[in-house]
């Protein structure tokens, strides 16, 4: 037997999963199901969509309507699902590469439309599945197989980018801060519009090893220490924020939701008929 949460929301026969020892993706995946459980959602009415990557393997383990698509395109597929069946709670699980590199355009456009999809980005600052190339969130200066002399790319703040593109809910937590993470996922799902929750993950196998970040426990400790809640941060000086990053809820507003707006067009014609 495994825990009730797992029994109830997982395809237990597919476990144990393929992720490496200590991979943060498992923690975040569990938090997603915890949030769904807390909200009491009907499993038959939840659809989880992913792209390609270690993170994108999550839906295969989860006992919902699940869709594992092509690299970067999860949100475009999900948009089709949501348009066709707005009554489904559509959740997208994606990686930093999947969501923000090849999939960046779909991310900003889904955010712009404010379509009621909740996207959870498992951000491990690396392309895990292909073996450790730098991603749009790899910190400048860090090493990756394709940045052997140190990454010269500046990195995205994914939550911020989604907010700027039009997401009505944007938050960030980490694989260490599971209670917050779970709460943000819940709030994201509750938001009737496009929500993005960035979940900082750890990839001990590639990112951690390449960058000499120590054991996975060391990396979890770093998450614990470097994350500063956005509210607390207001009281800190730039010097105090040096080397830290923000977690918390960054945006939470209400705006017209896409499928509901479309429904209004349909209703107009329904009346006419």
């Amino acid at each position: 037997m495994s825990s009730q949460l797992i029994n109830q929301y997982y395809r237990a026969e597919k476990l144990p999963h393929i992720w490496c020892p200590g991979c943060g993706h498992g923690i975040i995946t569990r938090a997603v199901s915890q949030a769904i459980h807390n909200m009491g959602l009907d499993k038959d009415k939840v659809c989880i969509v992913s792209g390609i990557g270690c993170s994108s393997r999550a839906p295969g383990y989860m006992d919902f309507n699940t869709l594992h698509t092509t690299h970067g395109r999860a949100l475009a597929f999900a948009t089709g699902v949501k348009m066709a069946r707005p009554e489904l709670e559509v959740i997208v699980i994606s990686g930093d590469g999947d969501a923000a590199a090849i999939g960046g355009n779909h991310l900003i456009h889904a955010a712009r439309r404010n379509i009621n999809i909740t996207t959870i980005v498992f951000n491990n600052n690396i392309y895990g599945m292909t073996g450790g190339q730098y991603s749009p969130t790899t910190p400048t200066g860090d090493l990756a197989t394709t940045a052997p002399f140190g990454n010269i790319d500046k990195s995205f703040d994914i939550a911020n980018l989604a907010a700027a593109a039009g997401a009505t809910y944007a938050a960030r937590a980490t694989a260490y801060h599971v209670p917050q993470l779970t709460k943000y996922i819940e709030n994201g799902i509750k938001n009737k519009g496009f929500s993005l929750v960035e979940a900082i993950s750890v990839c001990p196998t590639y990112y951690g090893r390449k960058n000499k970040k120590g054991t996975v426990v060391d990396q979890m400790n770093w998450l614990k220490d470097a994350a500063v809640d956005v509210k607390a941060a207001q009281k800190l000086t730039p010097e105090q924020m040096e080397g830290k990053f923000l977690i918390g809820e960054f945006k939470n507003v209400t705006e017209p939701e896409y499928t509901q707006e479309y429904q209004k067009i349909l209703d107009r014609f329904k009346k006419e008929r």
Partner: protein, 72 residues
């Protein structure tokens, strides 16, 4: 999980444990240890059933469960 904490039992699913040590490190009461690549409950008396090990286990291998035994 609506029952009171006191009724919960700490359980380990060894086949799934990959010995990452996360639960060990962040258990507030130092209840756990790694033995031969897998987690082991070494001091169940101290466990306060806070569930943090379960929350952070990447492999769903440790959890607070119902009435069963502690390890399986």
């Amino acid at each position: 999980m609506s029952k009171g904490k006191e009724n919960l039992k700490l359980k380990v699913k060894k086949e799934w444990c990959k010995g990452c040590s996360i639960c060990v490190e962040f258990c507030p009461k130092k209840v756990l240890a790694i033995k031969g690549d897998k987690v082991e409950i070494t001091d169940i008396e101290k466990c306060i059933k806070c569930g943090l090990c379960e929350l952070r286990c990447p492999d769903f291998a440790i959890y607070l469960g119902g009435m069963d035994d502690e390890e399986k």
